[in-house]
Amino acid sequence: MSLFIREVKVLDPQSPHHLKRVNVLIKEGVITSIDNKEHQADTTIEAKGQFLTPGLFDLKANFCDPGFEHREDIYSGCQLAAASGYTGVATLPNTAPVVQAKSHIEYLKSKSRDCLTDIYPMAAVTIDALGEDLTEMIDLHEAGAIAFTDGNQPMWHTDIMLKSLIYLQKFDGLLINLPEDKLLTRFGTMNEGIVSTGLGLKGMPALAEHLMIKRDLDILAYSGGRLHFSNISSAESVKLIKKAKKNGLKITCDVSIHHLLHTDQAIVGYDANYKINPPLRENRDRKALLKGLKDGTIDAIVSAHSPQDEESKKLEFDRAEDGILGLQTMIPSLLSLDEELDPSEWIDKITSRPRAILKLAPVTIAESEKANVTLIDPKKKWKYDQKSNLSKSVNSPYYGKELTGQVSATLNGEKIYQTPS
């Protein structure tokens, strides 16, 4: 099977063709030529005005399987990821049961084997992600766990944090922590600030995040190992990580797309679709996060895809669960940041950097490389509704709205997904 993509603009800073308009021929899942010539193929895509990028990669998505299959499952998650341009997704271990035994890893791998999107399961650091007793991390690593994290639960126990970082060094394993001091965020439902005060909602101070980052940086300096901060959200966090990187600590971090787009002002109408953890912060934080992306402090942008059923969201704000869907709206969301963040500035953050953090083989658009690519139509208008939504859940503030920018095709080797027009 062969595919010819005509007049597409390559968006891949690692490729010699970056920002060039080319014709790309793909045969049997391999890029065979990138030039300006015409080629015969089984299928031709007229891609004028579209971008060709390396296949997207997400570091933080919850596919809810097993345990919460009514919200998402491996099949719906993979289908959704492929349609959203993702050829790889590292999944959170916060399922029921929590991903903490090699059979859990095998289940996720075997169930996703035929999917276009490669699933890289992350395993919990501690039993049931409670932060107290270590999981069998060497065994989990052997079974294929790509990284270790308690996911949406922070590693609150200082000694367990230290032990984990030391233990993982046997195989240079990556520890991912959500920096949050739980004692400071108890009963909180949104960012602590002027907005929370006016809404009467109990706040979660950004201080809770900074304290945990400071603690973890000190522990890392003592223990060695590899640490990644998940989903940082405040200006002070960017500052701390920037300084630590400068001092040579082996750390990386990511930010969610939601924190780049919104602030706590979004909660003024008590819309629980904006309820996430870490909470949406202030505009100065949002600006600092964008700056941190540009100067390299922040390595990746994640979807923080977190499906919730209507029964968990259509509630009083303080009773609703945390989480926003993130995969299918990632590309239109990033494109909407047009004036603040250029595609050349975000493309690495959703392709090469997350793969590098996980020590996966690099993916690039070059001749003889496996076709691991995403085709994006930045001008395409589409409605995010019951018909187009591929998640089993609808907890997105964009649901029902018209969006600009859509993935038109995703290729992973011989597997191809094309968005119906």
């Binding site: 002027i194 005060t197 006016g198 009467g200 109990k202 008590y270 509630l315 009083e316 303080d318």
Partner: protein, 308 residues
């Protein structure tokens, strides 16, 4: 009939100064009515109001119910301590069930901030917020401001101190909004752990010395220590609280002026307020209760104009 700018009373934040004056003028008329031998008017005949209380309440509920009955409305009551969620029913389901019985207005108290706002996005009936968690309690602020106005006249330029547990209070925020809209200056006083960190951004002065607050103000609105809402420790003991933040007669006597003392009730006697202050001529606490009925009649009457 003049109308309010909204079909709901969700909070003072959404009201205009004109709305507040309209409510006061209407309340003046109703205050006359409830002091007559025949205390009832037919204004809300054929209107059905449900008092839906998801949190314990004695005086607010009684006050609303009396206001509704004085206006000849048909009244039903629903109380559930704790959340309806625990019983397996959502707030929306509970309220929709009540509305299915052809109810025109909902008066709701709920422990979640924003619960009435959430409801307003999903139902068409008029909603009166009778207190939503630690957010607002608009009718309390209206009756407070009405009672102040009755005692000291126009509130423009007057100094009002709000003293006590601010962080757990729904009265504080509504009071701040109402008083500022009416031109009064507001000072907040209490232990720093009971004052939200960002409250100073709301144009209020914040002090921790109760004597300073009392010396500054014309009116002191002393709030209740909400022990039942404190999920964690905010101060060491009631003894220390009453010693350093309580209002007592000795303190009032040491001022070279007369100030008005208010309290939204129920009072923790001997904690935030000593009995000799609560029962003194400084206190207008019982006037607040009386005015509560008149003000709530005014709110219900004005919102009823938008029923249907």
């Amino acid at each position: 009939m003049s109308h309010l700018s909204s079909k709901h009373l969700l909070g003072i934040k959404d009201l205009t100064k004109e709305d507040i004056h309209l409510i006061f003028e209407t309340a003046d008329n109703f205050k006359d009515v409830i002091n007559r031998p025949i205390k009832k008017v037919p204004s809300l005949r054929d209107i059905t109001i449900a008092n839906v209380f998801f949190e314990n309440s004695t005086r607010t509920k009684l006050s609303f119910e009396l206001a509704e009955k004085r206006l000849s409305a048909d009244v039903i009551n629903f109380s559930s301590s704790g959340s309806s969620v625990k019983k397996g029913e959502t707030l929306l389901d509970t309220v929709n069930n009540i509305l299915a019985m052809k109810v025109d207005m909902i008066v709701m108290r709920h422990s979640s901030p924003g619960a009435p706002h959430f409801l307003a996005n999903h139902i068409s009936a008029n909603i009166v917020n009778a207190g939503d968690g630690t957010h607002e309690h608009p009718t309390q602020a209206l009756l407070d401001a009405y009672s102040m106005r009755e005692r000291v006249g126009d509130l423009e330029g007057k100094n009002v101190a709000i003293i006590g547990d601010i962080i757990h209070s729904r009265v504080a925020l509504s009071n701040i909004f109402a008083l500022q809209k009416l031109g009064a200056n507001v000072m907040i006083c209490g232990p720093a752990t009971l004052i939200p960190k960002y409250l100073s951004s709301f144009g209020v002065k914040i002090v921790s010395d109760v004597r300073e607050a009392l010396a500054w103000c014309d009116i002191a609105n002393v709030l209740r220590i909400q022990l039942e809402r404190q999920q964690i420790k905010y101060f060491p003991s009631l003894r220390e609280y009453s010693l350093y933040f309580g209002v007592n007669k000795q303190l009032l006597d040491s001022l070279n002026k007369e100030i008005v003392i208010m309290h939204p009730g129920p009072i923790n006697r001997g904690v935030e307020l000593t009995s000799d202050v609560a029962d003194s001529h400084h206190s207008i606490i019982l006037d607040q209760v009386e005015n509560g009925v008149a003000v709530r009649m005014a709110v219900l009457y004005l919102l009823a104009g938008t029923v249907g």
